[in-house]
């Protein structure tokens, strides 16, 4: 599987799991080589570890990509996985960033069914969360929201009075605070 030079976004899991205490944000800087994603995925799968979110995007230097992997799990075995991932030839580095020292954000789009009668209520919620309205029809709306995962969860909670047709979350992206590199 090649890492293309575009943002690839995959699944999110239940917000409950995303906020469990042993949550981790791995940032993996990799060479853009064929198979690098498969190798990393395999390292997790072999140890029965579940990847909760995964974002791959091109680095500033086009020869590299940045993967941000959201996980929760046992501390001890995670150290082992980080070392196994770091060992892969195509991995330049792999770091687990805490919430204190880094900025962690995600982006989501939510589609609800909403007629004219309830539109202003929906827009009120959207405004509170700083959402953008991406699509509006007589019967539906798509909002987008960016922020930390808790904020997205709160929006999901508030909007659940409406019929939510679908939701897509990017998964977390991480950047270290201050001058240091991620």
């Amino acid at each position: 599987m090649a890492v293309e030079n575009k943002v690839i976004v995959t699944t999110d899991k239940s917000p409950m799991i995303l906020h469990s205490s042993s949550q981790h944000n791995l940032s993996v800087y990799v060479s853009n080589s064929p198979g690098v994603l498969a190798r990393i995925a395999q390292t997790f799968a072999r140890r029965n570890y579940n990847i909760e979110s995964l974002v791959v995007s091109p680095g500033m230097d086009g020869r590299f990509s940045r993967m941000t992997i959201g996980l929760s799990g046992d501390e001890g075995s995670l150290d082992q996985i980080i070392m196994q991932v770091s060992k892969l030839i195509d991995v330049v580095n792999c770091v687990d960033h805490s919430f204190e020292t880094s900025v962690v954000k995600e982006f989501a789009m939510i589609k609800i069914l909403c007629g004219i009668d309830k539109r202003s209520e929906a827009l009120q919620i959207a405004e509170h969360f700083g959402c953008k309205t991406l699509d509006l029809t007589r019967t539906s709306m798509i909002f987008s929201v960016a922020g930390d995962s808790k904020k997205v969860d709160a929006l999901v909670e508030m909007i659940s009075n409406f019929e939510v047709v679908e939701m897509v979350r990017t998964g977390k992206v991480v950047m270290v605070r201050g001058e240091s590199r991620t």
Binding site: G35, Q80, V91, V92
Partner: protein
Amino acid sequence: MAKQELDGAQALLKCLENEGIEIMFGYSGGAVLPIFDALETIKTKIKFVMVRHEQGAVHMADGYARATGKPACVLVTSGPGAGNTITGIMTADMDSIPMIIITGQQVTWMLGKDAFQEADIFGISMPVVKHSYLVKATNDIPRLVKEAYHIATTGRQGPVLIDIPKDLSQGPFDGELDQEMDLPGYNPEKSFDFDKAEVKAIAEAIKFSKKPLILAGQGAMLAKADVELKYFAETLNSPVTNTLLGKGVFPESHELSLGMLGMHGTAYANKAIVEADLIISVGSRFDDRIIGQADKFGRLATIIHIDIDPAEIGKMIVPHYQCVGDAKAILTELNKHIERLDSDEWVEKVQGLKKKFPLSYKIHGGLKMQHVLDEFYNLTEGKAIMATDVGQHQMWAAQFYKCDKSFQWLTSGGAGTMGFGFPAAIGAQLGRPDDIVVAVVGDGGFQMTSFELATAVIEKLPIIILVLNNHYLGMVRQWQELFFDERESGVDLVGNPDFVKLAEAYGATGYNLKRPADVRKVLEKALAHRGGPVLINAEVTKHENVFPMIPAGAALEDMLIEPPKEKLAKPTGST
């Protein structure tokens, strides 16, 4: 280097040769036609050895590397040819053995279309290689070969696979033969830039030990740290035990050596581990076969782990002190900071254990594998290169054939691959033509790769194939006897061929060995025969069990030194 008119396949061979590859084991087929053609069209110094099955080719490359320390190359076709290499690659990967595997592949535009003999070997092999490549352009070949060789032979060594579509190997090459590597994520030179403060801390931790024990593994051997290790042990006055793969890195006939530890290790090595107040592992990965029950391992000891692979630190055992890097470089530094320990009493005690619990066997009651191996050790003065298969014979060979030198003991440790021994011996003999090379095999494992007799005969290799034939899968039978109420299931090898006739059918020589009184005579006859492969079919007793034994997952103190009198519970640990 100036540009020459070459195709991809010719460039490939030239690059492999430039890297220092001397030998290539392989089997032809459609997708590698251009590369086999290049073997004829360009003058290459690389020797090509035609095998009878691709698995054999990989084990031969493996045996060659284990006996010489140098990597060899494997060349096979796509689809089934590539698929047949997997067990061999896994075996090499588990034991950190360097090699380069070249697989032919369907033409680029047919990839993913289920074309004839197309297999995604790049994907299939991914979990069992150190690294792998699918070639995208003919002109990349020199860089990929250089990277592959570099990756295979540095850091923690291992197999690297290069999958080459046929259109690219037969396409014109118009690049440079000497290209720069591009490996920003791979820095094996760090192995030599270890943390000296950690070494100092280790030296401090060692200082007050009264019961030290050094655990020498294959990492020390691959780093060629024999001399440093010997100085380390002798200066400290510390006993040394070794892993199965570490046999020879510290002379097993040395008075400080306790031989192999672990599941079927010596009683004295295992007893020493239990009592030691300091365990210094140099290049061992604390494999489940040596630690038994992890939380009880070395409970009384300060544990020090020296390893080239940071991912091994804390994987099985969390050490008190550690240092990541090349064993030779670290020991060289560590040796500057050590002095003799107050360990005379301990060494004396351990010597006492050696006398109290020696490895032994009974000569009467039929021909024993141990007897054959012990006699063979005496006749060859411990100097033969021993390639073993997997099972009871392997453990007895490890116990009774003491190794004093690195690279003389070739065995599949991590993977435990039956069928490994004989082809590994072929590779070893090709790499070291003047040494006595022995394939010690069981009747089960030998039949998995016995067709390589053809290869051994064609190459006129004077290998001794010692078939320790108990007509059983003995190790599995032993477990069934001990843990499954003696219910034998799937272990009786009825229908074994007449191995002497089998050898003769291939043009090799064969001898039968049936009586204990004939052991010396038959072994001497085989040793004197240097004209080609010679097989000894030793008909040994059927129900002998290997002891000492630590049931899988049990603590080292629960070792069985002799057959148990009571029924045992099923092991709880690893397989």
